[in-house]
Amino acid sequence: MKYLDLAMNAASSLGAEYADIRIQKTTDQVIYLQNLSLKHTNTEVLHGYGIRVFKDGAWGFAHNNVFSDEAVLATVQKAFEIAQLSASVNKNKKLRLAPERSYIATVKTPVKIDPFEVPLNEKIDLMMEVNRTIMAYEGIRQAVFYLVQHKDEKLFGSTLGTRLDLSSLFIDPMIIATAVHEGDSQSRTFDEGGRAIGWEWVLELDLIDKAKQIAEEALIKVKADTLGPEQRRSLILDPNHLGLTMHESVGHPTELDRVLGWEADYAGISFATPEKLKNYRYGSEIINFVGDNTLPQGLATHGFDDDGVPGQKWHIIKDGILNEYGSTRDTAMEIGLGYSRGCNRATYYFDQPINRIPNLYLLPGTKPLTPGELIADTEDGVYIQGRGSFSIDQHRVNFQFGGDFFWEIKNGKLHRPLKKVLYKSCNPEFWNSCDAICDERFWRPFGVVNCGKGQPSQSARMTHGSAPARFRNIRVGGSQ
């Protein structure tokens, strides 16, 4: 903690209006196994600190990996000097920070079994067994197991007096089976997208069973028919598919920095502009999206964000109407919000935090409805599981998604498996076409651990979630 006080005292002495220091140690263990060959088994530890200084309506951010009094003080000085340079440009466009109180807290991701304490050979043995299970199927040409374990340990101090000790982690096991048949090649993936949980989750998953399932489904998929020409059809989307669709078409458009045009040069802006707040019909009346950085096992549940603002829960879309954004202390003030929703996050110690998607999920339907009943109620449609191709324009209006596994629905039954299915839609048509969502018994989380954004590029993580949902009259067809 001594560097926190040293840095904050130095920043105050220099005349900073606000400053913070984030000492961050990030540990990653990545194991990549392909066809029983360990391609990559690496432990990475990145340890350093980033210091933000706010002066005359502008930021300066300097980082360092050398821990000494001299290095910390020099880094504060650098941050202060470039904040002054920034301020010389922002004379008529000063940023402001939403008010925030000070906090002293310790927050740690609750785990039963720390994944970093599990012996490496146990992990590799499991991965080899999963690989062997997949490779045992005739027609399977490639088996991949990609396991990421990630831990962030942060000490945060600010000139508000906040002192935080935060430790978060996640695990992300991903298994891929690729089949080759008569000139085609298709993959099937087990991918829950990661969770902030201990190794106990991996033990509960029964990955051998999952391996059998994806190997069999890869073989079904490579031999499956394509859908043919694009037509308006119903779609039933599984939570492990819908997670990515909501990420791209709701999560990003409601990041306040995009709304303000701060990402105009790279990641893009948003159609969901402030005059639409509280009146724009983003979706049908059953659409309720909640931002929730308190969600248990959520990838964006860290206790506090990198502004020192606590995790919160709020409606982003309420009864189909655009309700509020995900915001940070500096973006919130640009629309006169007066408070931040705590969405400022950085990836590594050397990254300046930016406005990020919170844990964001679709509330389940309020009436009892099972996936089986939803399919039985659908005459002509496609049921999609898993994530596939995804692309959206830079205003977050037009999009096209693929998937990982597809069933054609005919007369209320799963009729035949399909491959190479795509759907095209746009905002707000897509979310307004949602006419049914299964109930809370079928709600499942889906994690995103590689959300790329920013210049320089950063990769963030957050959890989405939903129950299976139906969308009517969507353009669905096969790829070329």
């Binding site: 432990t43 980082h63 440009v89 040069d265 190479k420 795509l422």
Partner: protein
Amino acid sequence: MNSEKILQYIKQHSNADDWSLFISYWDSHETRFAQNGITQHITGPKLDITLNVSYGSKSGSCTVNQANDESLEFLLKTAQDIARIAPEDPEFMPSAEAAELPKVNNCDEETKNLDPKQMVEIVQKAIDKAKAFDSTVSGMTEKHYHNSWMFTKNGFAGHSERTGFGHSMTLKKAEVETKVDYEAKCFAGFDLDKDFAQLQSQAIALADLHVFEPQKIAVIMRPSALMELMWFMGWMMNRRQSDEGFTPFTGQLGKPFFGEKFSWFSTLQQPQLVARPYDYEGNVSREIAWVENGILKNMPTNRYWAKKVNGTPGSSYNIYIPGGNSTEEEMMQMVPRGLILNRLWYIRTVDAKSGELTGMTRDGVLYFENGKVQHAVNNLRFNEIPHDATRRILALGASKLASASSMLPTMLIDNFNFVDKTSF
């Protein structure tokens, strides 16, 4: 940062049968601006030290970002502990041996020594120009100095040093958005006045926007747009993935799989292009024709797979696509109608086996007919197979630097497959 000290530590303390040591040091300064103000301003050094070790064919690796003895001890112990536990790797390859490396010149002293004041002055000038044009500008001014080393127990010793300067600007005036960017190893070629004049000219051309329905139509694809498409196609051109049946290039090596007007090289001979002298496996960069006059000549191959298929290992270290001498004006005369594309965005693989990609146009689409630009049109979505598109190349412009590691021409491509449109 003392690379020799790190090397000596590993040499003295490692008991592994084999090892490869990678050291990377960056010093960067990044000033990010949006809507005529600075929103982020970042400076500082970064260090990565990665050690791969092996006992027999059992391997492990570790990465740290500090060079003190305690960190190096952790680095070595962790990598060695992992390797001892790891199973035998049937695809293990020993580390690279000593090699003669090509001389490259990727570093520029003026760029390395740019100071924060100079960079903020560039931002200030860009904002002043945007205000004078009754518009807003967003972008980033950045400079980087990167120094890296690779050493192996088998005697490979490589050093690579490079600089980079970038300045991007997205201008918004009323409903028009368009972008110009500069990215090169040298600051000296940067001309803000010229780039902003180009930005203004693009914005003026885009002011009259008409609705345009998706269809197959000829496109004049400018280098920045083509670069995005080529990176994705190149990513699919992996020799092993192809040999194992996962890509469209399976069984096509040595065959005229692309259009005959299309060639693609990685080269040490273009002085503007950054060219690293060796890759992560220690493969020495050399002149490589990936595609020559439409014939698939080579695919990126690692050392293991190259040995297995009796090929030559190598990876793509830059993109050079030779051009022709057609101007955009001449291209517009070659087809009855078409679109001019400034840039592509959010490209993703739709189907790896067929090589089909999807993506959007961005930052300005112009419609031309009867040899002249008529008006701007809305952005469009494409679903297209890029190697197939090379068979529809009608003409090539001169090759230009699109990024520090990409030099490509403007291409006239017939029947480009647009499948959807957006609202702007």
